[in-house]
Structures are given as C-alpha cells and as structure tokens.
Symmetry: C2
Subunit: 411 residues, 2 copies
C-alpha cells in the first residue's frame, strides 16, 4: 500500500553524503537531486515539457499559495497538482509554514516572529502591519493577496496538502529566525514537535479517508536554528515519532540558517537521522550551499533562486554569474555557456537574450530560466555521478575554484 | 537567382479568392495563410518551436522596432532575423511606415497626420506632443522608447530591411487615415508612388551589393483610403513600376480601412493587380475580416490581435470569444475548445488557465497565445482547404453563423 520507498546506493567516504533513489507513485527520483519550484503550480514562464527536457525529476509547489489561489478543492477536482499543471512526474508541496509567517509579515528570508511580537493587531517598529500571529494551536494570518484573515493549523495544512495530492508533503512547523532568543527557539521547537505529532495523526486519518488515491509521503520538518543541542534533539524527536504505526517517510531540514554554519547544521541533523529515510534541505539552491548540503547528507533540495535570478537577467556560467543586460553582450553571438546542453544555449545567443531583456519581452524570462534551472539541476546530477564514481571532492574543488574565482575581483 | 516565386492553385468560383504557393529561400507558404506577428523578433511569450507546432508557416517582425532595439546591424551580424530568433521558416518585415507615424504620435490604429498638422515642434489639440513629421523625402520621428530623434526615408527603410534579412519586405509608404481629406489622400498617394520607385531602386542596388545572401522579395504597399479611383490607381501604378527590370514581387494592401468597406477595397485592388503576384493584407486578423479578405483575393495576412487578446485572457472558440478570467471557468475542467488540436487544449483545462491568469503567471499568456494563434492559423488553413474543395461559402456560412451568433445576445 505504501508506494513510497528510499534506498541508499553509494556514499562519500568519510562523510554523510550519499546517492540514492526515492520511489513515488508518480516516478523515481535519483538523489541527490535539485527540485525546481513551481510555487503556484507553474515554474514561472516555462512549459512543463521544457522542465522535463532540462532534466527536472520533480517539481515543488506551495500549499499557502495554492490554498489562496485557486483553492485546494479545485486542484483536487482537477486530479491533483500534477494533472492540474500537466506535470506527470513526482511532486512536492511545502506545508505553508514558512509562507504564512514570512509573507504574512511582508518579509522574505529574514523573518522575525514570535507569539509576543507577532500579533496581527499590533504595528511593528518599521510601521508594517503585523499580519501573522502564532499560538500553540496554529497560525492566524492575513492573505498577501486581499488582506482576508485565514488560519492554518497542522491539521488544516495536512488537509490542504492531501487535496493538492503531491507525492511528498511537509509537516506544518513554526519557522523561527536567527533573531529569536535561544529561549524562544527552545519553546518553538517543542511546539513544532507537538505539531509534528498532530500532522502524523491527521495524515494517518486522511490517508485512510482517501483510500484508493496514490500514497502521499509526509516529511517531518526539523528546526532548532544554530543550536547543536536543539538541532540534534529535533532530529531525534521527529525520527522517533510513531503514531499508531504512522511515522515520517523522510525529513525536511528547515529553518533559520547562517550560511557559514550550513554544513555543520546539516551534519548534526543527518548524524541523528535514520540512514534509510530521505532528507530534503528546504529552500537552498546556491551552488556552494548545494555542495555543502550534499556532502553532509541531504538528498534533495529546492529553491526559487535559479528562476528568480533568471528573471532579473542573472544567469549561471561555469565562471560564475553574468548579467545578460550588460552592454558587452549586445554583440555576443555565442551561447551563455559553450559547455551547456540546455535548449537556450543550443538555440540562442547572448546577443538575442540581451535584446529580449532590453525589449522587456517575456521570452527573456523563459529562456534564462530554462538555462538556470538546467545549470543547477545538472550541477546536482554531476554531484550524484561524482559520488558514484568516488570523485566528489575533485568535482567540488574544480567547480568551486572556477565558479567563485571572480569573487575577489572587481567586476 | 530570384529565389522567390508564386503560383495560383485554385480559385473561388465567381470571386477573386484563390489558393496558391509562395516559395521563399527559407521555405514555402501555402496560401491563403495567416502570418503571426513577432514584432520585436519574438512572438510574445511563445517559443518558436511552439509556433511551428501550431502550424505557423512564417512570422512577421517590424523594422521600426528592430531598428530601435537591438539595431539592424546586430540582427545582420546574427545571420538575419530568422537565425537571430531561432525561426527557420520564412519571415516578413513590415517597413516601419505605419509605426513611425502612429507610434510617433502616440496613437494606435486611428492616426491622423499630414504635413501641415504633424510638425514635431507643434502641439496638437489634445495636448499630445507631435512626434512625427512627414515631408516629400521621408519621415522624422521621435523614438517611443527614449525620445531620441530619427529619420526614415524609403532608402533607409530598405537598408534596414535588407540588414534584417527577411524573405519578404514591404516598401516604405505614407500611412494616411480616414480623417484626412480627399485632397490630402491624393497628394499622399503620389508621394507613396514616388517612394515606391525609390524603394525599388534602392532594393535593386542593395540586392546587388549583398550578392550571395538569400534573395529578399519586396512588396509594394497600396494606399488610397476609401476612394475607389485612388485605390485602383494605386494598384495600377505600383504594379506598373519597373526600375531597370526591378519590379515588386508582390503587394501589401494597406492603409486606412473602414471595416464595412474592407471587401470592396480588397476587391478594387485585386481587380487591378496581376494574378501571378501574391497580395498581403496588412494588419488584419479578425475572423470575419479574414473571410472577406480571402474571398476578395488576399493571399496572406498578419495581425497582433490573436496574441494581444490572448494576453488579456480573451480566447477564441467556435462559438465566439470567451474571457478566461470569468468566474464560471474556475471549475471548468475541460479545454477551451473540445475541437481544438492545439497544445493548450490538449494539455490544460480552462480551470488551470483561469488560475494562471488570476495568479498573474506568465504561462497564462503563453498558453492562451498558443491557442489563439492556432485558432486563427487553422481558420485560414480551413479556408484554403475549402477553396481547394470548392466549398468556401459553406465554411464561411457555418463559421460566421456560429462564431458571431452571440453578437446580438446580452453577454
């Protein structure tokens, strides 16, 4: 009945990194793998066929956005997320935990909320209205679309995610930031643990209720900020949860992360987690972070950065990022990268892309996104191959040396 | 050397309409044919492969826009328009005559300019600055992008179009409107005739200069507004031009048109024009106008309407236009048209499109444009088949009855 499985294939000697295979009802994901984001059931400006062609093995959509528009009942009636958006491979949905808190207060990655400071009826120092309030039962928040009030609880998030029908879902968690005190992180972690239990119970109920539908796997989300003891506790706690035989199928490594501590944090978590369950590092997609994540045991990754940067004309090359609107590309009758096999690089010049961005043509976003997504998907694919071949560290040194070589140069 | 030819295949009994075949260096166009517009060397939001898949036989770009951005020298260096934009079939470029006058004064279809009222140093009644000034030698205009001053003459337009490298180019003409007096129309027509001669001479010179490049055909543009004598004179004049053996390869039917008189005007022109040269009806793409144009002898058509309307969520069905943002389509789990074979209709529901438009996702434009372009391309393809089968009028009656049935109903 459980149409979800994971097995490890090979490992990096002396590290927690590994290759593996996740089996879902909609197909197999070879790991490590980068999962492109289609927040609102579309990778912005790109056809799903192009995503498949560029090597995407799965797509990740967001429960918060799809709850507000079009509504999970509509996606359910359409046959689930994949059918709705014409993507026939595996799908993930984020729980909405991060969005209800961060979008609710109008912040992006740097968010600061706790129960005392995030009351919707208060106004914070910078005059932004506080749009999210968290309590032990859930989160009340204002829609960023129309200001209407809504409430997410662990149960509601799971109900929404079951309606969306993705192969892999995430438990509803409280997302803290590095600005919170240790005391608050500790208290919040316990709340997230209790929510995780409720998620498992509701997940068990919904799986029974929706019998006959393809199995949806549930990943628990691990918080704990930069504190080793909290991170390790989070991993042990959630890995140990068992509600009448219902356990997490995998884990999401989430929350506030200081870039410099990313490897350490992933390592703490993965040391505690069972080897035989997959680990998804949430919202991480920078090349150096991907190397660190893979090395320390993360199996899958998602991030909006490749497509968001593409839409602002910033594209990846082996020698670092370049901006396509730079005047020097006006007559660059060569692809973004000679070594790239993507549709954009095999059919268009930088001169054409420069023109499209300057002319504000939508196709600019399409072509740049295809390239960036291919670049990152392929980079993680190369990491997988290098682990299987036993030369992960050689790839890392080569890539990092070249990609970040310009870091210290004036550009 | 002249790699351009046209031959008529069959005709509509009792009318001037016909099917035929235009041969260009980049491929064949079966006529009648609708030519989708890619103003700035891209059909907005759609990949060229999608345009090919939906049946587009050729694309039309605009000399004015490409002159301003990226510049015709860049397109030339890229190997011409087709190579630049990754479209390997036939291409057309409009001369820029319409745009320098209409965009210059900030008007769209309804334009009113003549030499006395359109001085760039005057201000017209509605307080808009006059940005275009026409004289016997050419047009001085202000860029709509940055306000810089530019000048087009027949020679400059041809130089630009030769650099752009399209298979079919248009002569530079003065575009009048229905608001101009008969006296002005007459005077303007003579100016356009003299410009046509200069276009032929410059075309001959450039064709020699650029020997070895694929042959580019030049179509003369016929003006004359709503006056039968002027229209017939325009056709006879331009069909009769011969500058050292250089004649027009075809004709563009242009200028101010009262929709009710469209058939009559096309008929006057086509009665005067030689049978063995193709006729392109400029800027026309409404279904009823296409039937009238085909019936009266036009072979090819271009128009931004299918894509422009698509981007505002208005899509074609056999029962007329519908707006995808209408709340009734929120749960419409069926394609825009059950009978449509386009990529959009075979892979997506109206519910998904409704969601994409409401979520302001770029893919909404992509999918709606693919459908609308397919609808219009296919409609003209059906006209071609019906002429070959001898049942053009049956198709016309069927289609028009159904498509416009709702016209008199409150909607």
């Amino acid at each position: 009945m459980n149409q979800f499985s994971f097995k490890v294939q090979s490992t990096i000697e002396g590290a927690l990194g590994r290759t593996g295979e996740i089996v879902t009802p909609h197909g197999v994901i070879q790991t490590p793998a980068f999962i492109p984001v289609g927040t609102k059931a579309t990778v912005k400006s790109v056809l799903p066929e192009s995503m498949k062609e560029l090597g995407a093995q799965a797509l990740l959509a967001n429960a918060y956005h799809l709850y507000l528009q079009p509504g999970p009942d509509i996606v359910d009636e359409a046959g689930g997320l994949g059918s709705f958006m014409n993507w026939h491979g595996p799908t993930f949905t984020d729980s909405g935990g991060f969005q209800v808190l961060s979008l609710g207060v109008g912040f992006k990655k740097v968010i600061a909320m706790d129960e005392t400071t995030f009351r919707s009826d208060e106004v914070i120092a910078d005059k932004k209205e506080r749009l999210a309030h968290v309590d032990d039962d859930g989160v009340t928040f204002k829609s960023h679309l129309d200001g209407s009030m809504h409430r997410f609880t662990p149960e509601i998030s799971l109900q929404i995610q079951h309606q969306l029908g993705a192969d892999i879902m995430f438990a509803f968690d409280e997302c803290t930031t590095l600005h919170n005190t240790r005391g608050y992180q500790q208290k919040s972690l316990e709340r997230t643990r209790l929510w995780a239990k409720r998620c498992l119970i509701e997940h068990g109920r919904l799986t029974q209720e929706r019998v006959g539908k393809p199995y949806q796997a549930l990943f628990g989300v691990l918080q704990g900020a930069q504190y080793e003891d909290l991170r390790r506790k989070a991993a042990r706690d959630l890995a140990g949860l068992d509600e009448d035989g219902i356990t997490f199928d995998g884990f999401g490594l989430g929350g506030a992360l200081d870039k410099a501590k990313l490897g350490e944090i992933v390592n703490w978590l993965c040391e505690e987690l069972p080897v035989n369950k997959p680990r998804h590092l949430l919202g991480i997609g920078e090349p150096d972070d991907l190397f660190v994540g893979v090395e320390n045991g993360a199996d899958t990754f998602d991030c909006v950065a490749p497509s968001r940067q593409a839409r602002t004309s910033a594209v990846f090359t082996d020698d670092g990022r370049v901006n396509l609107t730079n005047a020097k590309y006006q007559r660059a009758f060569s692809p973004i990268s000679e070594s790239c096999d993507c549709y954009t690089c095999t059919h268009y010049t930088m001169a054409y892309l420069n023109h499209l961005f300057k002319a504000k043509e939508m196709l600019a976003s399409t072509l740049a996104t295809i390239h960036n997504e291919r670049f990152i998907v392929n980079l993680v694919d190369r990491m997988r191959a290098s682990i299987n071949n036993g030369d992960f560290y050689a790839l890392k040194a080569d890539f990092m040396g070249r990609f970040y070589a310009k870091r210290n140069l004036a550009q």
